[in-house]
Amino acid sequence: MARAVLNQADITRALTRISHEILESNRGSSDLVLLGIPTRGVALARRIAETLARIEPDAPPALAGSLDVTMYRDDLGRTRTRTPAPTEVPPGGIDGKTVVLVDDVLYSGRTIRAAFDALADLGRARAVRLAVLVDRGHREFPIRADFVGKNLPSSTRERINVRLAEIDGDDSVTIGGGEG
């Protein structure tokens, strides 16, 4: 049976805290770009951008965008053909900016590795940070998140299921057994 890990209020609180942490480490919202990784990372990046705008009313509009990593994955020949999603970079590009990558679950780190390649083709960011809603461990690359909503030690047999209102109709994070 799936067990609830985060409910809607927990997710909102985690994103609010992450927003504050981003502002603190970046010393404000200048030269900041939030790039969500499709599908759910894009919705999370938009929510963080909205929260940032509430905390700092003089934050530049349109902080959030999306970064599709499909064409940069290292497993394209091993799985079924993946459908790419749009990449939308906020006006001004990423050159000289601090880019915060946003994703729902950090697992092997392979998606983030692909994101580094995708980012390099878009320009040269001053710094790249990583924000995730859930860190479930089991990294296969030397990658760690700078901003984490919830650390969730898990077994590789378990499934983490993130639902967001924009895509799935409601907000929740659940963890399920190996039967998947």
């Binding site: 599709d68 064409m71 940069y72 394209l76 020949g77 091993r78 799985t79 079924r80 053909t81 993946r82 459908t83 790419p84 999603a85 749009p86 990449t87 390649d117 083709d121 878009l122 320009g123």
Partner: protein, 316 residues
């Protein structure tokens, strides 16, 4: 997708999915770095038994922008001119480790033979076979119409209710065949206008109306007018008296172009015979999509190569 041989076998969902991938590829064309690492280590062979510059360089650009290695093989000055059969050529490519073969052939059905004979494991893309089909041309035409109509909101849409008029040599045109099937699958209404001598004998299976009077068809104010090239290399009989009479009766001349509403798109697959099937003013007008069609061709071919060559081998 395993092969791309004709648009007749494409269903609406697959066609829209391919056009949506092409939207992402088109976005890459606007970046400073226009290359993706996606097909690194894959080999794409351009196997051209018929002269073609535009289609070949379009496929070559598409494959290179996806980081595939490209081998160009043209029949002229090759082992084919020494009498090698398609089978032996295919087995040579197989031995060289080709992952994808883009084939243009003067015989209708050659890509199908290559894909189904078991001579080769590679994914096969039909880049024009005889008078049969030219699927990537139709896909880029559909992509061009869709993005002119819907712009950034194109994703996921078909061409429902769009009225397309295709004019010219329907008999020999693989572009017309591929477009008739694809555009109707996507929901468009297709009407064909041609000299009676340049229409196939039996059109009952075609999901399109056929007319013979261009002025009547243009008076219905179609959304798209697609002019086909008069292919001098295929005019082996007296299909029309002479080119001036063709231009007067079936060409998009200045007078006809002026009567078109300013929203009607003018398309041409290229290369154009200016002054024959299309007047220079129509070809160079803002309504003309000719240059967009070329740019979109690369995006659509990138999408086709991606869908064919990524993913596990042996997948249906």
């Amino acid at each position: 997708m395993r092969h791309l041989l004709s648009t007749r076998e494409l269903d609406r969902e697959a066609a829209i999915a391919l056009l949506d991938v092409a939207e992402d590829m088109a976005a890459v064309q606007e970046r400073e770095v226009k290359k993706l690492p996606t097909l690194r280590g894959k080999t794409v062979v351009n196997l051209f038994f018929e002269d073609s510059t535009r289609t070949r360089i379009s496929f070559e650009a598409a494959a290179k922008r996806l980081s595939a290695d490209v081998i160009n093989f043209s029949a002229k000055g090759s082992s084919v001119s020494k009498g090698e059969s398609l089978k032996d050529t295919a087995q040579t490519l197989q031995a060289m480790g080709a992952d994808g073969v883009v084939i243009r052939h003067h015989a209708s059905g050659a890509p199908h033979t290559l894909a189904t004979s078991g001579w080769i494991d590679a994914g096969v893309v039909n880049a024009g076979d005889g008078t049969h089909e030219h699927p990537t041309q139709a896909l880029l035409d559909a992509f061009t119409i869709r993005s002119r109509l819907h712009g950034a909101a194109s994703r996921g849409r078909g061409l429902d209710g769009v009225r397309v008029l295709i004019v010219g040599d329907i008999l020999h045109s693989r572009v017309a065949r591929s477009n008739v099937w694809l555009l109707t699958t996507l929901g468009a209404e297709v009407e064909l206008v041609a000299p009676p001598t340049l229409v196939p004998v039996d059109m009952t299976a075609w999901p399109a109306r056929v007319g013979y009077d261009l002025d009547d068809a243009l008076a219905a104010r179609p959304d798209v007018v697609m002019m086909l090239r008069i292919q001098a290399e295929r005019m082996h009989a007296a299909f029309f008296p002479n080119s001036r009479e063709y231009a007067r009766t079936w060409g998009l001349d200045d007078a006809r172009f002026d009567r078109l509403p300013p929203t009607t798109m003018v398309m041409h697959p290229g290369p154009m015979n200016r002054g024959l099937e299309i007047a220079a003013r129509a070809a160079d007008s803002p309504q003309s999509t000719v240059r967009e069609q070329v740019a979109n061709g690369v995006s659509v071919r990138m999408a086709a190569l991606y869908l064919l060559l990524s993913g596990e081998r042996g997948e249906a």
